[in-house]
């Protein structure tokens, strides 16, 4: 390419080709199937965004290429780190060697209210800390003893999950037998999860396995008193797939409650076991992170006849559309309330957009996140007048790419399971005004002089969900893009620093 920077679809196609050149033949062939530029689509445009494009890469949700610096994690990260870890009144054992639990300890900012170590346990690291003898002789006895000790030292814990690390499945331990035994002895919920890190190709299978564990070890067990005592009402909903990162679920709940709905369970940020158990009694499942929790929604639909719908609480356009779509499932009172809520927050929305849009309009963004946000946050950027130049997922499946076509315009760069090398090259060529990705990408990108926000952890800010969250989101993007630091990168005495003669 003659140009310094790639911009626009033709450039992107050529850029993909060029970036692939660095790979050995076998890897090149494999990686080519994960990189594309979104195409026009025959489909009806999405009602909210007015967009229809074709974003599918040839391949997704397949094994990562060895040695390329994939950004993905593993099944344990999907189960313990994402789905189960936030359930606050249960103890989650990282079952195996010490590392996994250590590295994932308190790193997802799943906010909760509770007395840590007494009735809540989210920001604690419980592990069986496997030693060589446990590998050789098996760890089931140690696991059983560990659960006994948990019950003794943490009597208010309402149950225990066993989050398997790699060795468990390899040494042939029977954690299910231990769980059954301990359930019998204690009467508490015990959940063995086979989320060994070598299973599957990313976090994604861990989500699925964790969902299945909810089905098998919570739902398909005897009803608890909490469930029996609960009187379902006509406005009961569950929020599924909101992990309350930086308080996201709280900023969402407040809107749903203002609308007149009862959020009987929030999965799984700030959740108690009772909220999980009771879920099948609700009227409707509202799913935010489709990728990590659609499985259990489908199960509840099949088994309990509860409908589910996806919604999106990023940015005012999607929030309003979602509130209306949710309200459609209820009576006129709720529908009127939805309008009232939208009207109530309109001044805040106007104020935020008036303040930040002029500072952000036309700025380009490249995203690389997990399984939902690469599409879900797009409209929030649109609301601020920002443009998505590229987006990609760590662990999306085909159905996620289908949905991406409702958010992302044609001519957008799409990368699946991007490698460190590709992402660096793409960013170098596209030179976006902002990159939104994770901690591993943050510092390399910032070294290049490009503004960055972590879009897994909200860069320790948040919430970003809901109207209250949108204000924070806008403030944070402005903070990143318009920081004075980016102008300090070049020392003024460096050779070739032509002073602009305007």
């Amino acid at each position: 390419m003659a140009k310094d920077h790639a911009n626009g679809p033709e450039d992107y196609e050529a850029m993909i080709e060029e970036v692939l050149e660095a790979y050995p033949a076998k890897a090149k062939k494999r990686r080519a199937k994960h990189l594309t530029v979104s195409k026009p689509s025959e489909e009806e445009p999405d009602a909210t965004t007015g967009i229809a494009s074709k974003c599918d890469t040839q391949k997704s949700n397949v094994k990562s290429v060895p040695g390329v610096m994939t950004i993905r994690g593993c099944a344990y990260a999907g189960s313990k780190g994402v789905v189960w870890g936030p359930v606050k009144d249960m103890v989650h054992i990282s079952h195996g060697p010490v590392g996994c639990g250590q590295y994932s300890w308190s790193q997802r900012r799943n906010y909760y209210i509770g007395k840590t170590g007494v009735d809540s346990f989210v920001t604690m690291q419980f592990t069986t800390d496997f030693q060589e003898k446990d590998i050789v002789f098996g760890g089931d006895k140690k696991l059983a003893k560990t659960i006994d000790e948990i019950n003794e030292l943490f009597p208010l814990s309402n149950g225990t999950t066993i989050q398997s690390e790699c060795p468990i499945g390899l040494i042939g331990d029977d954690i299910e037998a231990v769980a059954r035994q301990k359930k019998k002895e204690t009467g508490k919920t015990m959940v063995p999860v086979r989320c060994e890190g070598f299973r599957g190709v990313s976090q994604s299978l861990g989500h699925h396995i964790a969902n299945d564990a909810v089905r098998d070890w919570v739902f398909e067990q005897e009803e608890s008193d909490a469930v029996k005592a609960y009187e379902p009402g006509p406005y009961d909903v569950n929020v599924i797939g909101d992990y309350n990162i930086g308080g996201d679920a709280w900023a969402s709940r407040i809107l749903l409650e203002e609308m007149g709905l009862n959020v009987v369970g929030n999965w799984s940020g700030d959740a108690t076991l009772a909220e999980i158990e009771r879920a099948p009694k609700a009227r409707l499942n509202l799913i935010h992170c489709y990728r990590s929790m659609n499985y259990i929604c489908r199960y509840m639909e099949e088994k309990h006849g509860i409908g589910w719908m996806e919604y999106n609480f990023f940015g005012p356009t999607q929030i309003a559309a979602s509130l209306r779509a949710i309200a459609k499932n209820f009576d006129e009172t709720i529908q009127e309330n939805a309008e009232k809520v939208i009207a109530k927050y309109q001044p805040l929305v106007d104020e935020v957009i008036a303040k930040y849009k002029p500072r952000l309009e036309g700025k380009s963004v490249m995203l690389y996140v997990g399984g939902l946000r690469p599409r879900h946050v797009v409209t929030a950027y649109d609301d601020l007048g920002m443009v998505i130049a590229g987006t990609g997922y760590e662990f999306a499946h085909g159905d996620d790419y289908k949905r991406t076509g409702h958010y992302v315009k044609e001519g957008t760069l799409i990368y699946d399971d991007v490698t460190g090398y590709e992402l660096e090259k793409f960013i170098e060529r596209v030179r976006p005004d902002l990159v939104g990705s994770g901690i591993k990408e943050k510092y390399p990108v910032q070294k290049m002089g490009i503004p960055f926000r972590q879009m897994h952890s909200w860069d320790y800010s948040g919430p970003y969900h809901g109207y209250d969250g949108f204000a924070i989101f806008a403030r944070d993007m402005d903070m990143a893009v318009n920081s004075p630091v980016w102008n300090l990168y070049d020392a003024p005495w460096e050779a070739g620093q032509a002073i602009a003669a305007e």
């Binding site: 790979y23 050995p24 076998k26 060895p66 040695g67 390329v68 610096m69 994939t70 593993c74 990260a77 009144d89 195996g96 060697p97 590392g99 250590q102 790193q107 209210i113 509770g114 007395k115 170590g117 007494v118 009735d119 604690m124 690291q125 592990t127 030693q131 560990t146 000790e149 948990i150 030292l153 208010l156 790699c166 040494i171 060994e196 890190g197 070598f198 299973r199 930086g246 308080g247 900023a251 709940r253 805040l348 935020v352 303040k355 930040y356 490698t419 901690i439 591993k440 943050k442 510092y443 390399p444 910032q446 070294k447 290049m448 948040g462 919430p463 204000a471 924070i472 403030r475 990168y489």
Partner: protein
């Protein structure tokens, strides 16, 4: 409505607003089915009791809030300190994402490392194909001068043989025959990150030294050990040795790679021990390890090659630094110059100026074995009294050394050594035998919250404070940094305790 565009409230103030407080109270009452408040209070109080401490200490299987990580983290850290070296961890890929995140969160820097991304099929058939493809891809994409291979516990459990795999990969042309691919088996179910550091170090130097003839020179080698403050400490060590005129090589120097400038270019590699230097390090007269428990196997190997070896325990403070300099003097015959004596004097001056504020203050200290030793020694030097000294990855030998150290000073009388215990034990210790200050890492903030003990962050990892690691803790200069942190903690606490107007502020002194 609490939120406004004019003054955006993020999580900390937002959820303190009445609308949210009411919402959360409502959630608790209607949906959570929690335990009664009285019971939570009662159990909470019970967890602070001596009775609970006994139960807690009786644990045999459960580990809660350990202060250690697994071997490959140390291996990745060690390899990062060699010139243009890429770590390649053979096994499941999630682990590598974890090491990279962990290191990046502490250093606020990029951390590059690849995985062979083994999955179910590799668990059954072994990961040879992953190694063959992985090495080829890593070399092609990231242009390293050396690829350092370590293992996750998955690869260890199935028994993949790195040596054979690397030989076969080279035969298949993944990387040239003469390309450096040192390796170390780093099982996560043995020891901790300090052992991974040791194993990788041994793997790298034995790769360069095996079969080579040794011709002794006057140079010495320094093994820094696993150190969250290595960026600044390695530079401080360099400064001291330069002042002495000692020719030396670091075996693994991460000070540049975890401290690259922001000038528009991302440097995946920077600085580090040159590979030629690592080769030539065989010829050194002696090797000093700054951290004995990070290097037992490496030092044993080096001693076997005919070098003198010495091991210190994270030299901090006056005597720790004295000992380091005198050890260098002894090994090299170089004099300790006047400028270092003056620097020492300035540190002693600072300690003398402030001793009254630290004398008799009690401390709980945790971290890696060498750090706890060095820190304990420095605390006693300042007239502080270590009460709880804890290393989750400390062994019996370490405990014995610690006991001897505590016995060597009247300030160590109260000292108790806790090898293999975790931070939930420490919670019990602090609740039953409180201390004035706690020294550890960011995970200690939960202890600060639960026991009211002010935390001083001097050990890896530090996630919730920025750039502390950019200032040294070793050497006379480093001791000054540490001293100021301890003093600031004392003064801040005192100000906090005397800040209520008309009530406690009679002691809110201007001059202290």
């Amino acid at each position: 409505m609490p939120q406004s565009g004019d003054k955006v409230l993020d999580h900390a103030p937002l959820f303190q607003q009445p609308e949210y407080k009411e919402m959360l109270a409502n959630k608790k009452m209607k949906f959570e089915c929690g335990h009664p408040d009285e019971l939570v209070t009662e159990i909470g109080d019970w967890t602070k009791s001596w009775e609970y401490r006994e139960k807690n200490l009786a644990r045999e299987a459960l580990t809660v809030n350990p202060a250690k990580a697994c071997q490959p983290l140390g291996a990745v850290f060690a390899a990062a300190g060699y010139e243009q070296t890429l770590s390649f961890v053979h096994g499941s890929q999630g682990c590598v994402a974890y090491y990279r995140s962990h290191l990046s969160r502490h250093f606020k820097e990029p951390s590059s490392c690849v995985s062979s991304s083994m999955t179910e099929d590799a668990a059954v058939f072994g990961g040879l194909v992953n190694m063959v493809d992985g090495l080829a891809n890593a070399k092609a994409l990231y242009d390293p001068k050396m690829i350092a291979v370590s293992t996750t516990c998955m690869a260890e459990v199935i028994g993949d043989d790195l040596n054979s795999f690397i030989i076969q990969s080279k035969e298949k042309g993944s990387v040239p025959e003469d390309f450096d691919v040192p390796f170390a088996h780093t099982p996560a179910f043995v020891g901790s990150h300090v052992d991974g550091y040791d194993n990788m170090q041994k793997g790298i130097i034995s790769h360069f030294w095996e079969g080579e003839e040794r011709t002794e020179t006057d140079k010495i080698n320094i093994i820094p050990g696993f150190d969250g403050f290595a960026v600044a400490n390695n530079r401080e060590i360099t400064k001291m040795l330069d002042a002495m005129g000692v020719e030396f090589s670091f075996l693994s120097d991460v000070s540049d790679v975890y401290d690259t400038p922001s000038d528009g270019e991302f440097r995946m590699y920077d600085g580090g021990t040159k590979l030629d230097e690592a080769k030539a390090a065989l010829n050194a007269k002696a090797t000093i390890s700054m951290q004995e428990y990070c290097s037992p196997k490496t030092l044993e190997y080096i001693a076997g090659k005919g070098q003198e070896t010495a091991a210190l325990h994270y030299p901090m403070g006056v005597q720790g630094t004295d000992e380091f300099l005198m050890k260098v003097q002894e090994l090299t015959g170089k004099e300790i110059p006047e400028e270092l004596r003056l620097e020492r004097g300035r540190l002693v001056d600072a300690i003398a100026d402030s001793q009254a504020w630290l004398h008799g203050k009690t401390f709980a200290i945790y971290g890696d074995p060498d750090f706890v030793y060095g820190m304990t020694r420095f605390v006693m030097e300042l007239g502080g009294e270590p009460v709880h000294c804890l290393a989750t990855n400390g062994n019996k030998k370490w405990a014995a050394k610690m006991e001897a150290l505590l016995a060597s000073s009247p300030f160590g009388k109260q000292g108790q050594v806790w090898a293999g215990k975790d931070l939930w034990h420490m919670r019990s210790f602090l609740n039953t035998e409180p201390c004035d200050m706690l020294i550890g890492n960011s995970y200690g903030k939960y202890l600060e919250r639960d026991t009211g003990t002010p935390l001083i962050r001097l050990a890896f990892p530090i996630f919730d404070r920025h750039h502390h690691h950019r200032f040294p803790t070793m050497g006379y200069q480093g001791a000054l940094t540490v001293l100021v942190k301890l003093l600031d903690t004392v003064f801040d606490k005192l100000d906090d305790d005397t800040i209520v107007p008309g009530e406690t502020d009679y002691s809110y002194d201007l001059t202290r």
